[in-house]
């Protein structure tokens, strides 16, 4: 048996060595030059559009029954194939499709994945390809627009956006002895001291998505503006003080354990209407869910707790991007333009997708009263650092913040350790 195993192992190793000796790719082939994709040119053929629109909230219906048919009517003879991929699977699907050279023409990509996709060379830079790019860019809120930048170019345009504000349960606050919702970080601390051992606020995790609004509002940051280094920023006094406040609230039991990752704890979207958590910091997508599951609950909103840096929340949402592989880039560009048109943006606004276009703000606020708070917050909201290394950076930050919350490291030690791991990644670009 051993002899057979040895023989087999040797064959496998030799085969591996043989493969290793082969060239592993195109030797750093440069992406093909981008053709100019002017607006209004005659388009034909078919494109595929990947997205993670949800079926439950009517998004798919709006896309497939209204937006795509209208686009196809405008351009007779063209066809847009819509492919829905769940939000959770999207990243993995994109990675495997990139490896297998089977990406679609247009993608609605989560804003944090755009620099990564740009880095691995699968996207066409819209700032080069579309002559009218700048006119589209000028329409956008600066936060969502910034999520498309990588290496001096813009690789997409904001398709929809969102941000987080304080959503609170008035009755639960009063029951815990807090007369009105805290407006500032100081008031939040004071309220936590006052209620002593009762929850005042819940956060569903300790990653950049959850912690950056506190850091920014306190006047700190995660990296320098060019996203080249985190030393002096993430472990600087303002960022550390913001995280220290969160750790103190957690230790005082003013913040529940779901901040450690959400596994096992009551989700924030359930805890708030149930009255367990008096306040959460969350996005507009929580409203339809709460309205369905807790029809009697009336959520109220307030801007992100302000501090030395103002009231600064985090930008979420999706960008629309075109792939290098697309064989019909003219049609892809025309479809992107249509997806950003008032018709399509309004149709998506009706089903919960906030437009990132400044001109659309009024129309959006008219659709849903609660949109107004988010549109106001968007004026100062910032994107997470636009880096292709974001997934790793966020993982490191999350783990170190969790170690600080668990008391295994001081906040300063945890952030020093995070910086030591993050900066080499940022240096890779």
């Amino acid at each position: 048996m051993m002899k057979k195993l040895f023989t087999l192992s040797s064959i496998a190793l030799l085969a591996a060595a043989g493969l290793t000796a082969c060239d592993t790719g195109g030797g750093g082939a440069q992406p093909a030059a981008v053709a100019t994709l002017s607006s209004g040119v005659a388009v034909s053929g078919e494109i595929t559009f990947w997205h993670a629109y949800s079926a439950g909230g009517g998004e798919i219906k709006a896309l497939e029954k209204t937006i795509i048919p209208n686009f196809e009517k405008l351009h007779p003879g063209v066809k847009v194939k819509s492919v829905q991929i769940s939000d959770k699977d999207m990243h993995q699907k994109l990675v495997t499709a990139a490896a297998g050279q089977s990406l679609p023409d247009v993608i609605r990509a989560d804003i944090v994945t755009v620099p990564e996709l740009a880095k691995i060379g699968v996207l066409a830079p819209l700032s080069d390809a579309m002559p009218d790019f700048q006119s589209w860019a000028n329409k956008m809120f600066p936060g969502p627009l910034a999520t498309n930048k990588y290496n001096g170019k813009s690789w997409g345009l904001p398709l929809d956006t969102n941000t987080k504000v304080v959503i609170y349960n008035d009755q639960a606050l009063k029951a815990n002895g807090v007369a009105s919702v805290p407006k500032t970080l100081d008031e939040l601390k004071a309220a936590a001291d006052k209620v002593g051992g009762k929850y005042i606020l819940a956060e569903g995790g300790s990653g950049g998505w959850q912690m950056l609004p506190y850091i920014w509002s306190n006047g700190g940051d995660m990296t320098d503006p060019d996203v080249k280094k985190s030393a002096g920023y993430l472990n600087g006094p303002k960022a550390v003080a913001a995280l220290q406040m969160i750790v103190d609230l957690y230790n005082k039991k003013a913040i529940p354990g779901v901040i450690l990752g959400g596994s096992g704890g009551t989700p924030t979207g359930d805890g708030l209407p149930k009255g367990m958590y008096p306040a959460i910091v969350d996005g507009p997508w929580t409203f339809p869910g709460m309205a369905t599951s807790y029809p009697n609950f009336q959520p109220k909103t307030s801007p992100m707790f302000s501090g030395d840096g103002g009231s600064v929340s985090v930008v979420g949402g999706e960008d629309i991007v075109m792939t290098q592989q697309s064989k019909n880039k003219e049609l892809a560009a025309e479809f992107i333009r249509y997806m950003l048109s008032p018709d399509a943006q309004n149709a998506m606004g009706q089903v919960g997708q906030l437009s990132a276009e400044k001109d659309m703000a009024e129309a959006m606020a008219a659709i849903q009263p609660y949109y107004a708070a988010f549109l106001e917050q968007l004026k100062t909201a910032k994107p997470r650092p636009a880096t292709p290394q974001w997934a790793k950076v966020d993982d490191i930050f999350t783990k170190q913040a969790q170690l600080a919350l668990q008391g295994k490291l001081s906040v300063q030690e945890a952030m020093d350790a995070a910086v030591a791991q993050i900066d080499p990644l940022l240096a890779q670009g």
Binding site: T20, G26, L260, G264
Partner: protein, 323 residues
């Protein structure tokens, strides 16, 4: 796959040990052409090389590279860097330790309970078939479904387990944050492992128990053996080969624990419940570090190979000695 391979080894070893029958009968069964057996084996072999052999070799190649996801972009050969990086990565060792803890908490209990229930269900009793089916249901149920079910059971605020501990038994006045801490998280994941794998152990051992000759029990009874003596001196030696098989597969399975961890704790908090497969999955598919993920997979494969080999060597020799 592994089960088939291992059982295949057993079969081939057994047939090799069997003396060949001399004479014309043996010669007449020899195939007329050398390629006939290969032709029969070809579909399976082709499938094996396409779905297992080639990916394995490719993965080994990737492990020596700073691998680029896009085939059009160059990957850099970095030799053993990914391997040395893994060996120096404390998170990798935490994940291996967690797999070891999971193994110790789940495998002995699974095999022991599987054996106990197999012995009980071997006896003729009413509803025996029903119980056999009930025990096997978790095995055929999707890992995803049962992992989400267990996550729900172990939820801190509304979970049934905490209700049972705090409200029903009054053992504690506060809810245990099962999935928010390392050791309680691993306990919950191990309990799922036991529940899920018990039925498989039971069925395999049950089949093996049926093969122990009735005459051996009769002979033992004549010698005055009681039930315990019969179990220790007749049953256990009779199924030792199958027990070894079950144990080896369970140990391999424990190192490969994946969906339950991913869905119940996702390796958190702070990576404290990470196991090798969740860690390498994240390296590859979240961070696009396929070279590093592949290197960890091979380190784990070598480790599992050594442990399995030691089990066969150590327990297999005992089997021979007993004969």
């Amino acid at each position: 796959m592994t089960a088939q391979r291992l059982s295949g080894q057993e079969v081939s070893t057994a047939s090799a040990a069997r003396p060949r029958k001399p004479g014309r009968g043996g010669a007449s069964r020899r195939p007329s052409h050398w390629w006939v057996p290969w032709a029969f084996a070809a579909p399976g072999l082709i499938l094996f090389f396409l779905t297992t052999g080639y990916p394995l070799v490719r993965s080994l190649q990737i492990s020596f590279y700073n691998w680029s996801v896009l085939p059009t972009q160059a990957s850099t050969f970095i030799g053993l860097d990914n391997y040395t990086r893994a060996l120096a990565d404390p998170q990798f060792w935490t994940s291996v330790t967690n797999a070891g803890v999971y193994l110790l908490m789940s495998v002995p209990a699974t095999v022991a309970l599987g054996l106990l229930f197999a012995v009980l269900l071997q006896k003729k009793m009413p509803g025996r078939t029903l119980f056999r089916i009930l025990f096997y249901i978790p095995v055929v149920t999707s890992w995803v479904v049962v992992s989400l079910l267990f996550k729900f059971l172990f939820t801190t605020d509304d979970g049934a387990v905490n209700w049972f501990i705090t409200d029903f038994l009054s053992l504690s006045d506060h809810a245990v944050p099962w999935l928010e801490q390392r050791w309680t998280g691993l306990i919950a994941i191990s309990l799922l492992g036991i529940w899920k794998n018990l039925g498989w152990c039971l069925v395999v051992l049950l089949a093996s128990l049926g093969g122990v000759g009735e005459e051996l029990y009769e002979a033992a009874a004549l010698d005055g053996a009681n039930a315990w003596h019969k179990f220790v001196h007749v049953t256990l030696p009779g199924i030792r080969g199958t027990l070894l098989f079950v144990l080896v597969l369970q140990v391999i399975g424990a190192f490969n624990v994946f969906p339950s961890v991913l869905l119940m704790t996702n390796g958190g908090p702070a990576g404290s419940t990470e196991v090798p497969l969740t860690y390498m999955y994240k390296q590859a598919f979240s961070f696009l570090d396929f070279g590093y993920g592949s290197a960890m997979a091979f380190i784990l494969a070598i480790f599992i190979f050594i442990v399995s080999f030691a089990q066969f060597k150590f327990l297999g020799e005992k089997k021979e000695a007993l004969r």
